[in-house]
């Protein structure tokens, strides 16, 4: 038995306003510092600036998928319908951030390696696998009629996908012959303090952005559910 959501539809939207303001401020500052303050990196030059966009996007992708999995787990544990919606929104945002990660990574690869994609790179291929796995989540959802069964199947799928996240993250650390750069090694971040501080700003902004978009989409989904209930009551 799936219990209905009891959270007011617009409360998530209001909570998201603070996150949106934080995201706007942090990202504007981080991007301005990226282009106008940070020096060119010694090895890669100007193209290294994609790092301050690409890596926060990738880490936020993992956070969104992890959040979707956690909410899926909560759905299975409690049977509350609200967790099904929250899990779905988390996974949806994760796929958007994953798409952005793949595009920005591909642009960086074209500058640095001279190619758009390399099938020999574990990091790239495993990230693509994670992206495709969670993209299939929506095919699964749309193939099952709405209700408790869909909520449970979706939750199980979202929870299982979380296993892929550490595999993807550790891929470049488990293999010796890679060309994908490793900045966050076991003995700390391999960059200057100024670069690390801009990276942290950008990552914080990206997480705040994900929170704001999450609140916005969730408010829409809850309103949509309420509208369906009202329409159902009239017929």
């Amino acid at each position: 038995m799936i219990r209905a959501a009891v959270v007011p539809p617009l409360s998530a939207w209001k909570r998201g306003t603070a996150a949106a303001a934080a995201a706007g401020a942090l990202l504007v500052v981080a991007f301005a510092l990226t282009f106008f303050w940070l020096p060119n990196e010694a090895d890669q030059g100007f193209s290294q600036r994609i790092f301050y966009l690409h890596v926060p996007l990738a880490l936020t992708t993992y956070a969104c998928f992890g959040w979707g999995g956690w909410k899926g787990f909560r759905m299975l544990a409690t049977g509350r319908g609200r967790y099904d919606l929250e899990s779905c929104v988390g996974v949806h945002l994760g796929t958007i951030f994953a798409s952005l990660t793949l595009v920005t990574g591909s642009l960086w690869a074209r500058i640095s390696w001279g190619i758009w994609w390399s099938w020999n790179e574990n990091q790239l291929v495993l990230f693509l696998v994670v992206f495709l796995y969670y993209s299939a989540y929506f095919m699964l959802r749309s193939s099952v009629p709405g209700g408790p069964q869909r909520a449970r199947i979706s939750a199980v799928y979202a929870v299982f996908g979380v296993v892929l996240i550490p595999v993807s993250f550790l891929a470049i650390r488990l293999r010796a012959n890679f060309i994908h750069p490793v900045v966050f090694a076991s003995h700390g971040p391999q960059m200057a303090p100024s670069m690390l501080s801009v990276f942290c700003l950008s990552f914080g902004g990206m997480l705040a952005l994900a929170s704001a978009l999450y609140a916005q989409e969730l408010a829409g989904k809850r309103l949509d559910r309420r509208l369906r209930n009202l329409q159902g009551a009239r017929t």
């Binding site: 100007f46 952005l100 989409e217 309103l223 309420r226 009202l230 009551a233």
Partner: protein
């Protein structure tokens, strides 16, 4: 503008375009849903 600068700028602009499109699309959807819900609730109260 070097090709490196063009690619980096393209990456940041692509990110901004996708996020802006997402916000606008979901904002419009949210406004429409809120309007429809308010209308139905008002009709129900009468």
């Amino acid at each position: 503008v070097t090709s490196s600068e063009a690619f980096v700028s393209a990456a940041f602009l692509f990110f901004l375009a996708v996020v802006s499109a997402y916000i606008v699309i979901h904002g419009l959807k949210l406004a429409r849903l809120a309007r429809d819900v308010a209308r139905l609730e008002e009709e129900e109260q009468r």
